[in-house]
């Protein structure tokens, strides 16, 4: 039973890790955005796992929250990226460092 749970957890960690790595190494804003979604879903998976094995609904609730948030984030984020593209003609993150100290 534990091993089964470990399997889900490790899968969640892997998805999170892929997302984080993608965020770190890719420069395209759309890809980075998708990586963030991956990270969120990895966390979701871990929540659901614990919720299931601990017989608690709290984890499920959080997942619902995160999914709602992610949907909102996508709606705003994609709009921002679109506007950036219109403004700059690119979605490369290296050209977006105007907010430096």
């Amino acid at each position: 039973m534990i091993s089964q749970m470990n399997f889900f957890l490790i899968t969640g960690l892997l998805i999170f890790g892929i997302g984080a790595t993608g965020l770190l190494i890719r420069r395209n804003l759309i890809i980075c955005f998708m990586s963030i979604e991956l990270m969120l879903n990895g966390v979701n998976l871990v929540f659901v796992t614990f919720s299931h094995y601990l017989n608690s609904a709290v984890g499920m609730l959080y997942v619902l929250f995160i999914m709602a948030l992610a949907a909102a984030e996508v709606a705003i984020g994609l709009a921002i990226i679109l506007l950036i593209y219109r403004l700059k003609g690119t979605v490369d993150m290296d050209s977006l460092n105007t907010m430096k100290g």
Partner: protein
């Protein structure tokens, strides 16, 4: 019933205020319709103030105030073409009203029982903090009644004189504004019923003194003299304020009545605390009243206009120290050491300043040294616990010294601004009226029998001899000084009015007698200088000493010691001795300056060094310059360097270091999101493992 005494200081304040406003806007208002409106507004304000006053008071007193106010108001509206007249009417009128009210206060006070002659009128609550509670309250007792009469009476005469003397001065309103403000602060000083309020007046008169010494500030020397007076006074005020703190710590209150009532119970006779308090108070008095070692500012203070010298630096402000010592008699009598210090400093100042007056050439500086010397007499009087004698001399001195200064002003006026007595002489025939009043003043200060100075000076000398705190030594110094006073004052008189005419032809042609507006105050003061002494005739002459009896309630809390009894014969003898010494001084002056004017020249050549020392005032100014001023300036420049380098450096350094560190840390913020993500992930990893 006594509520109206609040108004006595307020009227000069209104005058100062109105004249100040008028002086500021005078040029703007000239020949414009707005002038009329502005002037009417000021008049209206004055009227409103009087209306407020009317509500506070019973009717008859207000009528006194309202009649001149109505005149002033009408003048305001219709008289803008001769605007200086308005200023005079407000300036002189407000002091005049105060004088009338003071006289009324005295009149009512006399009709009370001697024990009941202590009236406090609370104007408003000033501050409450912890167990400190202070009122702005005025005190009317025999001592302050005498003082307010002198201040407003002599002040009124000098204001009236100034109308003529300052005629055509471009800053005419400013002058009257300052002068009225001075009268206000002086009245606060003598009428307050607690130490801090007295200190307010004390500082206020210092401020007005500074402003008026430097009245003609276009000349650098005048501004410098004003600074000197102000700075030297700071040293004394430092002592005064320390004394106030010490009184509060010791008694827990600052009201005169509470302090003096409890003094003899709360403090041991000749104890350390009471000696410290009184000595610190006396330090304040040495500054304000120009005693050794802080007398150096008074001769320079003669840079101000002559009425200022008469009012502030002779008759009233400089006597504040004497008033203060007399007021604190309950404390001083508990501290015989302090009394001895006061008497000794007074006697030394008297003789020292008199000797400095011998060789001076400036008509006003001679009088300034004479003032210092006479103030020394007053301190000698209060220093031997003869408080009424000291105050008596204060009063008569106010009469004759104001007279002398104003006569000097009249002479300067006649000579077209010349102040060097060596360039005068023989003026007797040209300005006869001024000569007569000067002669009266000189006779009074020299102590000629029958004149006011004789009675007061003799009272002090007798007390210096007979008081338990006095001694033959103090008396001897006093008598010698009396002789010296007669000598230098007659020297002053002879050099100006007798002998050959040493002025140049041009000046001689222009010599003219002063206008009546200047002469009438002189006549009044001359009258007072002759007859002012008869209110305090010594008892040994078989008359009641009204002045002494009137002031007796003031010393009710004083520590009582047994006064030795001497026979009247001894008193007569001493009186004759002092008159004889004074006459000797007169005779010497007569020989030196009328009979054979070559004697002083020969003497000066023979004892060259001595003459040089006396002429240069014993080099005290230079000595102070080297000892204190130079060192102080050096310290100040050192402090400035320290301030610029160390303190400013620390402040600026804080700013600079923050600036550089912000630039360094700012570099961390690259603007690349993945840099931040790296930071987050690394942080997370560090937290995890």
């Amino acid at each position: 019933m006594f509520d109206f005494i609040v108004l006595i200081p307020l009227f000069p304040l209104f005058g100062a205020f109105l004249n100040g406003i008028y002086g500021v806007f005078r040029n703007k208002w000239a020949n414009k319709p707005s002038h009329t409106i502005g002037v009417a507004a000021i008049g209206l304000a004055f009227g409103l103030v009087l209306l407020l006053v009317y509500k506070m008071l019973s009717v008859p007193i207000v009528l006194l105030a309202l009649v001149p106010a109505l005149g002033a108001f009408l003048n305001f509206i219709f008289g803008y073409k001769w605007s200086d007249k308005l200023v005079s009417i407000i300036g002189v009128g407000s002091v005049g009203i105060s004088f009338v009210l003071s006289a009324l206060a005295l009149w009512k006070l006399i009709h009370l029982d001697p024990e009941a002659r202590f009236i406090e009128v609370v104007f408003y609550k000033w501050m409450v903090s912890g167990n400190l509670s202070l009122d702005v309250a005025f005190l009317l007792d025999p001592l302050s009644a005498v003082m307010i009469l002198v201040v407003t009476g002599v002040g009124f005469l000098i204001h009236a004189y100034s109308m003529g003397y300052m005629h055509n001065d471009p800053s005419y309103p400013r002058f009257f504004s300052y002068l009225n403000l001075f009268v206000f602060f002086m009245l606060i000083l003598v009428m307050s019923n607690n130490f801090p309020l007295m200190f307010v007046g004390w500082e206020g008169v210092g401020l007005c003194s500074y402003l008026l010494i430097g009245f003609w500030f276009e000349d650098d020397y005048n501004a410098y003299a004003g600074n000197k007076a102000f700075i030297v006074n700071r040293i004394g005020d430092f002592g005064f304020i320390l004394a106030i703190f010490l009184i509060f710590v010791t008694f827990g209150t600052l009201n005169y009545k509470d302090v003096f009532e409890t003094a003899s119970r709360a403090l041991p006779y000749n104890g350390f605390t009471v000696t410290a308090i009184t000595l610190l108070l006396f330090l304040g008095a040495t500054g304000k009243s120009a005693q050794i070692p802080l007398y150096v500012w008074l001769p320079d203070a003669m840079a101000g206009p002559t009425p200022v010298s008469a009012l502030i630096h002779a008759a009233t402000m400089v006597t504040a120290g004497v008033y203060m010592v007399a007021r604190c008699n309950a404390l001083y009598t508990l501290a015989p050491v302090s009394l001895a210090v006061v008497a000794t400093i007074g006697a030394l100042t008297a003789i020292f300043a008199a000797s400095m007056g011998f060789a001076q050439k400036d008509i006003k500086r001679i009088l300034a040294y004479s003032t210092i010397s006479q103030l020394g007499y007053m301190f000698l009087g209060v220093g031997v616990a003869a408080f009424s004698a000291g105050i008596f001399h204060l009063v008569t001195h106010a009469f004759f010294k104001a007279l002398l200064f104003l006569s000097a002003g009249s002479v300067i006026h006649a000579m077209g601004g010349e102040q060097d007595v060596m360039k005068m002489g023989g003026l007797k025939g040209h300005i006869k009226k001024t000569f007569i009043v000067s002669l009266v003043g000189t006779l009074a200060i020299a102590g000629a029998p029958g004149f006011s100075g004789f009675f007061s000076k003799d009272e002090i000398l007798w007390q210096a001899y007979s008081s338990p705190y006095g001694s033959k030594f103090l008396w001897a110094i006093g008598v010698i000084t009396a002789g010296m006073t007669a000598f230098y004052m007659f020297r002053w008189l002879f050099l100006i009015f007798f002998g050959e005419e040493r002025m140049d032809h041009e000046t001689k042609h222009h010599i003219h007698e002063s206008p009546n507006s200047m002469l009438i105050p002189l006549y009044v003061l001359a009258f007072l200088s002759i007859f002012g002494g008869y209110m305090g005739v010594p008892e040994s002459l078989g008359v009641k000493n009204y002045f002494h009896h009137f002031l007796e309630p003031v010393t009710q809390y004083a520590y009582k010691v047994e006064w030795p009894h001497y026979s009247h014969a001894l008193e007569y003898t001493l009186m004759i001795v002092s008159v004889a010494v004074a006459f000797a001084g007169f005779a010497l002056a007569y020989i030196c300056y009328i009979k054979d004017p070559s004697i002083p020249v020969k003497f000066g050549e023979k004892y060259r060094t001595l003459y040089k020392w006396v002429y240069n005032k014993y080099f005290v100014d230079e000595f102070y310059g080297i000892l204190f001023v130079k060192g102080l300036l050096k310290t100040c420049f050192g402090m400035r360097a320290f301030d610029e380098k160390a303190i400013d450096g620390a402040v600026n350094g804080t700013g600079k270091s923050l600036y550089w560190s912000s630039i360094l840390t700012g570099k961390l913020q690259t603007g690349y999101i993945y840099h931040y993500v790296w930071g987050i992930v690394l942080g997370l990893l560090i937290l995890l493992f």
